[in-house]
Subunit: 398 residues, 2 copies
């Protein structure tokens, strides 16, 4: 939570936090601290214990002022134009940041954060150090990762809101599967062969109608393709009866908050192996939801899901360093402004789940050459209780 | 062009290029060099004069192997799991990268590039330096920015392809405006008040149908809101007759290539000021397309567009450091895997336009309290000739 920021900075030994980004879309850290879309990004500076300031392009000042930083200045206020003419764009940008730090009287240890171009960051850090600033990096999870991990109530609600709209899209996809026909070993919808390409375009259009964007695409993989857990399903292939259709969707609402949801479907009678995989994965997810909760170690939840699958005869990452079939990935990850954040439900994680955590629970089983099954919902810890962000049925066969 | 990479590295004094990214969606540099979607990103290393290698998660190895890097290894090959158990995730990642560099025999100057978390990057750079690697940053435009600037024919075609689909969406929006009615000072479509919210959702859905995503949203701003060039138009407002509707759309195709397009419309008879602004902006864009071409300095094209607008009585950034009405932004920017890249058509740019450049030409006029007009198309320099990527009509009034 943003209210913890000063404490987290203190614990990590930082006196000032500088957050950069070419836009609030590309830098979740910048958006988190600014809370308004700023198309060209900006320079955020917060001294520990003080109110933050933000420096943006004149063009973006009106946008930026809609956010939570009240002290918004422009690059012109710092003479960026003249600097650029004298020094070129790259050096001018570094000079601007040095001036922002200097005018704010920054003296102690400085964290430079946000999603930025690494070549520029390395140049900037050296530049600031030559100017006498004490810039220090930090491996992940950084104090800002920890700050973003614990969601406020309204943030969790923004995830739920994105989830409700996601499920509307899911229901439309399920309706198409329901109205599809299996004849002579082929699946048709409204008289035409049903393909992953058609479903993909349809899902993209429904997301648009719901005001959802797909910053990292979506996964719609059928048959053997689904045994690669990250198959993008960009291929346009006809669906085959009895085979898995793995559908994983991770959209963003206009507030920037994400949802992450997976179901695995089958049109026609599922092959026995597929039916067994589905039951095993669902049992693993059910068990994970039973044990997950405040005070529980992430690694323990992962282990519990693995044990269910082990008992059913599947290889998992609990007993092996690397497996090429069975349960071959982690159990979940945090969901917020990104879908790659704390907490991670992986084998070795010592992280203890606590109130404010919002994360996926997504066991899967993969059989190369045959296909994969994954089931994913979002869990939230609220006032010590675990709740499913949005409920949706578990159905394999259509 | 990627074929220039060795030369560009040599000119900037680099012996090795390390490119990072949490995913190929968030790191355009990584995607550019890998040419395949890798959901969890990876570590790309190229020694000057040698073939590159790529290290990714086992889960992503199949995806990564669909790209242009033939030497794909996995984190397991470097023992990341054991490192993580021993050192924690952040330090383990730095150790992994040090091992990748060491095994490849990297000795000279190293560039760390790609879109990454700045705190992690600063930590990594210090870590690698302690291990004896000579890591050096570079201000923008970096050699990798220059490499990405010059498009190959197939890249320019990917922009055109995204543009053709964008224009299909634009035509659907124009059809709605055409079929709208003005009655008693209100605009209705199919009997309901026409709002920016309805148009926004419709555009998002049509983009989905065309297989286009909107990584940074879109701009649909009406009336006085359009005088802020980056108003996101997230507000849901009814359109008013005679007022501007500014529509700026910058989608990505599944290949990752972008398009960027703006028109300004009006339902009902335009107010005289709006009509004048539209004519002046169109004249400025026409003039810019006349003068832009191989061998021309970017700053000269900007100046030419400004002079047209100056003659019509508008303030521009040619004669003033900062203006709050008139032509208040740059004339254009490169378009490729991003919509913020070289070349930039700004006042002080000494960059000379050359074959392979793909960029926007987007003059605009803004009158606070009244509204804004912007017209944007994409120019490409092919074999010394300037061509418009995709043609589309210029119409204000519906």
């Amino acid at each position: 939570m943003i209210s913890e920021l000063d404490d987290l900075m203190a614990k990590s030994g930082y006196d000032a936090l500088l957050v950069l980004g070419e836009s609030t879309y590309s830098s979740a850290e910048l958006y988190y601290l600014v809370r308004a879309p700023v198309p060209r990004g900006g320079v955020y500076l917060k001294k520990r214990g003080s109110e933050p300031q933000l420096v943006v392009s004149t063009l973006d000042a009106a946008c930026a002022r809609k956010g939570i930083v009240s002290d918004v200045k422009t690059y012109s206020d710092y003479g960026l134009g003249q600097l650029q003419r004298r020094l070129g764009p790259g050096r001018a940008y570094a000079e601007l940041i040095a001036t922002v730090l200097k005018r704010a009287g920054v003296s102690g240890q400085v964290a430079v954060a946000g999603k930025t171009d690494a070549l520029t960051t390395a140049y900037l850090v050296d530049f600031l150090r030559r100017r006498g600033f004490r810039v220090a990096g930090m491996p992940r999870p950084s104090f800002l990762d920890l700050c973003r991990r614990k969601k406020e109530r309204w943030e969790a609600e923004a995830v739920v809101e994105a989830g409700r709209r996601t499920v509307k899209v899911v229901e439309k996809l399920e309706k198409i599967l329901e109205y599809s026909d299996v004849r002579q070993g082929r699946i048709t919808y409204e008289g035409k062969p049903l393909t992953t390409g058609f479903l993909r375009r349809s899902v993209m259009a429904w997301c648009g109608e719901e005001g959802l964007t797909l910053p990292e695409g979506l996964i719609l993989a059928s048959g053997p393709d689904s045994s690669d857990p990250h198959a993008s399903g960009l291929e346009n292939k006809p669906l085959n009866p009895g085979e898995p259709l793995l559908f994983d969707i991770f959209p963003a609402s206009e507030k920037g908050y994400r949802y992450d949801f997976t179901r695995t479907y089958c049109v026609g009678r599922p092959k026995p192996l597929l039916r067994r995989m589905f039951q095993d994965v669902l049992e693993a997810q059910t068990r994970a939801f039973e044990v997950v909760g405040e005070g529980v170690r992430c690694g323990a939840v992962f282990a519990e899901a693995c044990r269910v699958l082990q008992r059913r005869g599947w290889p998992t990452l609990l007993e092996a360093r690397s497996v090429d079939r069975g349960f071959i990935h982690g159990l979940g990850h945090g969901v917020g402004l990104t879908i790659g954040e704390e907490p991670y439900l992986s084998r070795d994680s010592q992280t203890v789940i606590s109130t404010g955590d919002v994360f996926t629970v997504e066991p899967g089983l993969y059989e190369p050459g045959f296909g994969g099954v994954r089931i994913e919902d979002v869990a939230m810890i609220e006032g010590g209780k675990t709740v499913k962000a949005v409920e949706h049925r578990y159905v394999l066969e259509f």
